[in-house]
Symmetry: C2
Subunit: 333 residues, 2 copies
DNA sequence: CTGTTAGCGCGTTCAT
DNA sequence: ATGAACGCGCTAACAG
C-alpha cells in the first residue's frame, strides 16, 4: 500500500514519452499516434493512475464541478430535483458539490462563497431570494447560474421551473369549473417557502375573478408535513365546518388532510374535496388518488444541468425555461 | 464585473505584507500581530478575496472534501442520511461531493475513482458491497472510509449503522411475544437492497426459534414503494388468506399495505396486523400509527462525519459504530 | 512575528 | 505527432 499516488510523470516515464503526451491521451485532446496511445494507456492501467483534479483545475482555471444549493433535504421535492441533477451529470465528467441552506439567504451566501472557491463551472440555486452580497459574488466570478423551481421573477442567468402563480390560478379555475364554491385553504410556513405563497395568490386571483373568495383558511407555522396538514385541517374544520373543498399548500399537507378525513369519518370528495400540489407518488397510491398539480421536479434538475453545460451546443438561448405542470384529476376533487 | 478574481498576491500588495502572511491570516494559522491581521482582513474585504481551494489542495496535498456515495435518492432513507451528513459538515469547512451509484458496484467504482481525483479527506459509502478494484483504490489512496447503514460485516475502515439481522430478529421476537403466529412477508427487490434480505433472515431465525415459519411470502421484483407494497400484499392475500400479521421489508411497502387494507375493507390489526421498518414520519401519521422499527438515518450520517473528521480528538477508536434501532409500538401490530 | 524559497501536478503556449 | 518551458495560486519548510 504505497500511499503515494502516481502522477503524470510516473506514467510518462513508464511509457517512455513526455508528460504532455500522457496528458493529451488522458484528455483525449490533440493528435496522438495510436501506437503511443496504446503504450500510455497501458502504463496508466499498470500504475493505477488517477489524474489530480486539483492540479488540473489550477492549471486550466476552472473545475469540472457544479455547485448545488438546496434549501432543504427534508422536503422530498429537493431530493427529487437533486436526482434529476445527478442523472444529467452522470453522462458528463462534472461532479456535484452539494450544500444545504435551510432556507436562509445568509447561509446560502456562505455556501456560495465556499463553492466559488473551487471555481465551478456553474451554480444551481433555488428561488430568487439571495442577499446582495451573494449577487455581487456571482457577478464577479464568471459562473453560470441556474435558479430553480420558479420562473416568476427575473433570473440572474437562467431560471428553470414553473410559474407557481399560474399553477395556483389554474388550480382555482379547475376547481371552480368542477362546481366547487366554498373554498378552504390549508398552508404551511410561507416565510421559508415563497412559492407556496405565490400559488396561494394565484388561487385567490382565480376565486376573485369568479366573484368568490376563501371561506376559511389556516396556516401552520411549521414546515410542510403530513402531520401539519392533518392538524391544520382539523383546526380549520372546527371553525368553518361548511366547506366544499380544501386546497392545500402541497401534497404532504394534503395527504395529512386525507388522513384526518379518514380518522374523522369524513367522506373525501363527497363531503369534502381535497386538492394538493406536486403530484408525489405516494399521493397517487392513497385509497383515493389525490387530485393535485404535477410539478416536474426531476425534469427541473435535469434540464438545469443540460442548459448549463450544453449552452453552446443548442441554439436555444432562452433565459427562462418553463418545465410546466399538469393538473392531476385524481379522485379527491 | 472584472472576471479576474483577486489572489493572495493582490491582497498582500494591498496590505503591504507578504503572501504567506495573508495565507496565515486566512487560515488562522501561526502567530499574527493583531495589527497586520487587521490590515490584511481589511484588504481581503476590500478586494472580495476568495481563496482558491484547488491551489490550496495542490499545495497541501488533500482537499477539505468528503466524497459521498449514495445508492439512490429515490428512497427517502438516503436523503435523510445525507441530511445528517450535511448537518455535521455545516460546522466544519469541509464540503461534500455527492454521487449516486444506483446500487451498482461498477458505477460505484467509477465514482470512487473520480472522487479520489480530488484527494478528499474521506469517503462515505453505503454497505459493504464493492468491487475488488474499488477496494484496491481505497487501499492505495489513503482516505478515511465509512461504510454506512449496516454493521453486519467487516468494514474497510469504519462502519456506522445497525445490525439488520438483529433488527429483523427482534421484530420477529416482538411479534411472537404479542401473540402472532401466522406470519406473512412482503418484500421488494433483494438484489439491490441487501439489508432487507438480512432483516428477512433475522425474522426467519426468530420464527424458527419459536418453532414457527412464514406462512406465506411474496416479493416484488421492483424497488420498494408504496405502490409495490400495496400490490404485493394484495397478491399475497389472494393465495394465503389466513394470516395474523404481515411483516414488510420497509415502511414504504407497509404503508402501501395499509392502503390496500383500507381499500379492501380489512381492519388493520384486528383482522391483519402490519409491521414495517424504518420509522418514517409519514407512517406515524397514518390513521393508525405504523408499528415498525426506527432506524436512525440522520444519526448515521451525522455520526459518520463526526467519526471521520474527529478521529484524533476522541479516544474512541471503535471501527464499528452501532447507532441502534428501536421498536415503535404503533397501532398496526 | 514575518519573510524567502521551492514546488505541489497539471495544462497552455510555442516550438520542433 | 511530440516536447520544453512556464506558471496557475497556494502552502511547507525553513530562516530570521
Amino acid at each position: 500500500m504505497p500511499p503515494v499516488a502516481p502522477t503524470l510523470k510516473d506514467v510518462a516515464l513508464m511509457a517512455g514519452v513526455s508528460e504532455i503526451t500522457v496528458s493529451r491521451v488522458v484528455r483525449n485532446k490533440g493528435p496522438i499516434s495510436s501506437d503511443t496511445r496504446l503504450r500510455v494507456t497501458a502504463a496508466i492501467d499498470a500504475l493505477g493512475y488517477v489524474p489530480n483534479r486539483a492540479a488540473g483545475s489550477l492549471a486550466s482555471a476552472g473545475a469540472p464541478l457544479i455547485g448545488v444549493l438546496l434549501p432543504s433535504l427534508s422536503n422530498i421535492v429537493f431530493p427529487e430535483v437533486l436526482r434529476g441533477i445527478q442523472a444529467a451529470l452522470a453522462s458528463t465528467n462534472y461532479q456535484s458539490l452539494v450544500g444545504v441552506t435551510e432556507y436562509d439567504p445568509v447561509v446560502e451566501q456562505h455556501i456560495v462563497s465556499s463553492l466559488l472557491a473551487w471555481k465551478p463551472a456553474a451554480l444551481i440555486m433555488t428561488g430568487f431570494d439571495h442577499t446582495d452580497a451573494t449577487r455581487m459574488m456571482l457577478a464577479k466570478h464568471d459562473v453560470r447560474v441556474a435558479e430553480l423551481m420558479d420562473i416568476d421573477a427575473e433570473p440572474i442567468d437562467i431560471a428553470v421551473g414553473l410559474s407557481h402563480r399560474r399553477a395556483g390560478y389554474d388550480s382555482g379555475r379547475h376547481l371552480i369549473q368542477r362546481g366547487y364554491r366554498r373554498f378552504g385553504y390549508v398552508g404551511h410556513d410561507w416565510d421559508a417557502d415563497r412559492r407556496a405563497r405565490r400559488r396561494y395568490n394565484g388561487l385567490c386571483a382565480a376565486l376573485a375573478e369568479a366573484g368568490l373568495s376563501l371561506t376559511a383558511e389556516s396556516r401552520s407555522p411549521h414546515a410542510s408535513s403530513t402531520r401539519a396538514g392533518k392538524e391544520t385541517l382539523k383546526a380549520l374544520l372546527l371553525d368553518a365546518p361548511k366547506l366544499d373543498v380544501v386546497v392545500f399548500s402541497n401534497d404532504d399537507m394534503a395527504i395529512g388532510g386525507f388522513f384526518h378525513c379518514l380518522e374523522a369519518g369524513i367522506s373525501v370528495k363527497e363531503e369534502l374535496a381535497l386538492f394538493g400540489f406536486n403530484g408525489l407518488a405516494i399521493g397517487q397510491d392513497l385509497p383515493k388518488p389525490l387530485s393535485t398539480v404535477r410539478s416536474n421536479r426531476f425534469l427541473i434538475g435535469k434540464t438545469a444541468v443540460e442548459r448549463l453545460l450544453g449552452a453552446a451546443e443548442t441554439s436555444d438561448h432562452r433565459r427562462v425555461i418553463d418545465t410546466g405542470y399538469e393538473i392531476v384529476e385524481g379522485a379527491t376533487a
